[in-house]
């Protein structure tokens, strides 16, 4: 800590504590505001002269990978968590998806999970779904499922896919471990307001056609359009008739991948679906408070005439089932397309990235996407492991079987409760009959910190969110798709147009 302060007034200069600039400004209510403006304004505790603000954090989700150093930091400095009730914790990244009762065989993974168990006890965190809790699951699946993610909240987690929770008109974003410690110690974060980006997705959904693009197809198409850095520096609001038509699960899938478009936060305004989804969930407001809460939540939308820094429009009617062909989520195409030819790319940096991606992926330019054969299929991850995703995949697989060249097809439900629900609906039987393995919940082969991984050169149709080099295992090749396209690929042994199967 500084003993004295520099002459020019600067952020967090203690001399400024009582200066007039440090008084939070009242939100200018008269001006039409975006949803993001409303969420931001409602959480500002303090603003500095350079626009940096201290914002209050309502919900802090914690998992085993990004928390040990934060707990350690608290301990070293003799600090305690500010508000224990804001924390909801689980172990998800390292947990095995088979034979869980035998414990974790990898000693390093085991130590990380045990460290979280210990820290939870030591610091007195009450809300913890440990590895053997029936409610355990991927942190971004269990938050909403428990009603722990509510409209109007700020939600953070040491995990970039925290954007998922924005589907509930929450301001939700990923943070680093130093910030995890900061939130634990102060219940606040130092942040600067992002620019606002409206992505409006219109399109006759359903309009007499049998197939309609899934949430995953829509968000992959958005990323294909604006690029993986297209949302950098922005908070995205997803709006338009096609977004309204999505279920809460679908909206979570879209917001989940906002980070893949470079945006820390993605969000959707509140409507009846939001409120219906939350009613009665364990952590949602009790019945006596629910009406008051939902009346407030209904104000969480962008006002008529609110100004965004940027607007992007997409027509969902033209979106085909999407498949990524490269090592970045923006390297994506419709199932009927061919893999693009880098030679035709004029930007040299892009061309080189495409060449390197195709070399890594082992694909020739111009190959029809539908001729790319696969080895493994992974249905899971915080993008697509909710009950609706499993229903969609099972709908394609019912009465069919995976192709003989598929060495492993697995379903990893997002949480213990999703798994139980799916079993109650008999979906597990459908998957098993089709030749899939039916696993226990966790992150699993989304990033392969546990034993579920690709071997070098193996090619996977995956419902996860990142196709980076080595993401699912060193040398592994990942193609991102929707659950129904993953199911279609499993049946065909190569990518196939789900519209021909349904």
């Amino acid at each position: 800590m500084p003993e004295s302060v520099p002459g020019n007034a600067v952020a967090y200069n203690p001399a400024m504590r009582s200066s007039p600039q440090s008084t939070p400004q009242l939100p200018p209510q008269a001006r039409p505001r975006t949803l993001y403006d409303k969420l931001w304004d409602a959480h500002v505790v303090h603003t500095e002269s350079d626009g940096t603000a201290l914002i209050y954090i309502d919900r802090h989700l914690v998992h085993e990978v990004t928390s040990p150093q934060a707990f350690e930091g608290l301990e070293i400095n003799g600090r305690k968590p500010w508000r224990l009730k804001s924390i909801l914790a689980t172990s998800d990244h390292n947990v095995p998806t088979v034979g869980r009762h035998e414990g974790i065989s990898d000693a390093v993974s085991r130590l990380q999970v045990e460290t979280l168990d210990k820290n939870i006890k030591k610091f007195g965190v009450g809300d913890y779904f440990g590895m053997n809790d029936s409610r355990q699951g991927i942190v971004h699946v269990i938050g909403p499922e428990q009603g722990a993610t509510l409209p109007g909240m700020t939600v953070v987690c040491g995990d970039s896919h925290t954007s998922t929770h924005g589907a509930f008109a929450a301001l939700a974003f990923g943070i680093g471990t130093s910030e995890v410690e900061h939130v634990m110690a102060t219940q606040c974060l130092v942040a600067k307001k992002s620019k606002s980006l409206l992505i409006r997705v219109e399109g006759k959904v359903g309009g007499g056609r049998r197939w309609q693009p899934t949430a995953k197809d829509i968000v992959l198409a958005i990323i294909g359009k604006i690029g993986t850095a297209g949302g950098t520096g922005y908070a995205i609001e997803f709006a338009g008739s096609a977004i309204r038509a999505l279920s809460m699960e679908g909206r979570m899938t879209v917001c989940n991948m906002a980070i893949e478009a470079g945006a820390r936060a993605g969000m959707v305004a509140v409507d009846d679906k939001t409120i219906d989804y939350l009613r009665g969930r364990p952590y949602a407001p009790p019945a006596a408070q629910f009406d008051q809460a939902s009346a407030h939540w209904r104000s969480l939308h962008s006002d008529e005439g609110a100004v965004f820094d940027r607007v992007v429009e997409l027509d969902a009617t033209n979106v085909m089932p999407q498949v990524t062909w490269g090592t970045s989520p923006e390297m994506v195409a419709g199932i009927a397309a061919n893999v693009p030819d880098p030679a035709k790319e004029t930007d040299p940096v892009k061309r080189e990235a495409m060449e390197r991606a195709l070399q890594y992926m082992g694909i020739d330019p111009g190959t029809p996407i539908s001729q790319i054969k696969i080895d493994k299929v992974f249905i899971g991850s915080c993008t697509n492991s909710r009950i609706e995703d499993l229903r969609a995949a099972a709908g394609v697989l019912r009465g069919r079987h995976i192709a003989s060249n598929i060495t492993l097809a697995m379903v990893v439900p997002g949480s213990g409760l999703v798994k139980r629900q799916a079993e109650a609906e008999g979906l597990d039987k459908v998957f098993l009959a089709a030749g899939f393995e039916w696993r226990d919940p966790g992150c699993s082969m989304c990033l392969g910190m546990n034993d579920d991984r690709l071997s070098p050169g193996e090619r996977c149709a995956s419902t996860s969110n990142r196709n980076f080099e080595g993401r699912q295992g060193a040398g592994g090749r990942t193609h991102l798709v929707s659950p129904e396209m993953a199911a279609a690929a499993a049946i065909a042994g190569r990518f196939a147009d789900v519209r021909d199967i349904l």
Partner: protein, 216 residues
Amino acid sequence: MEPFRVHTGLMVPLDRANVDTDAIIPKQFLKSIKRTGFGENAFDEWRYMDHGEPGVDNSKRALNPNFALNQPRYKGATILLARKNFGCGSSREHAPWALQQFGFRAIIAPSFADIFYNNCFKNGLLPIVLSELQVDHLFNVVMATSGLRLTIDLERQLVEVPGGEVYQFEVDDSRKQSLLNGWDEIGLTLRHVDKIRAYEQSRAIREPWIFPEQRG
């Protein structure tokens, strides 16, 4: 945190766009519960010929001679020159830890992913945004000049190429001051304890369901 004021050091070029945090520090190293020991595994998959795992003696592993960081002319580099969208992907702070522990003090690129950019400041690592043209120019200069050492002056917000250009860069004042002074951000925030409590009280009246622990 180690303060950053003026730094002069060797620059190494990493000529790839969209370098993600999985590439900067692969997932198997995230299992550590410590804050240190990541430097040897920075860019593990590109840097070594074989696959790395925690607990392996890295000094016995064969290095990839084609990877810039392994080339003798860049040995001891402390400034990383990169392409656009550097640090995209996961929020893992292990990425700036790995870079900082490798020996880097600053990264220059045309753009950074938001979370990574933010994480750097918490670790005494300065991310500098220059224009595409300026970065292109620096790539040309660093390839053509062996032993190129730049000077970065945070106070004046300048990048200086010896005998050449001087570039101005932007940085938020609060971040700049924290880095110049090596301040502990949590300690700074805790100066606002009264404001945080006052905020909680008014919020609990407006949205009581946020604070279930206050329910009678």
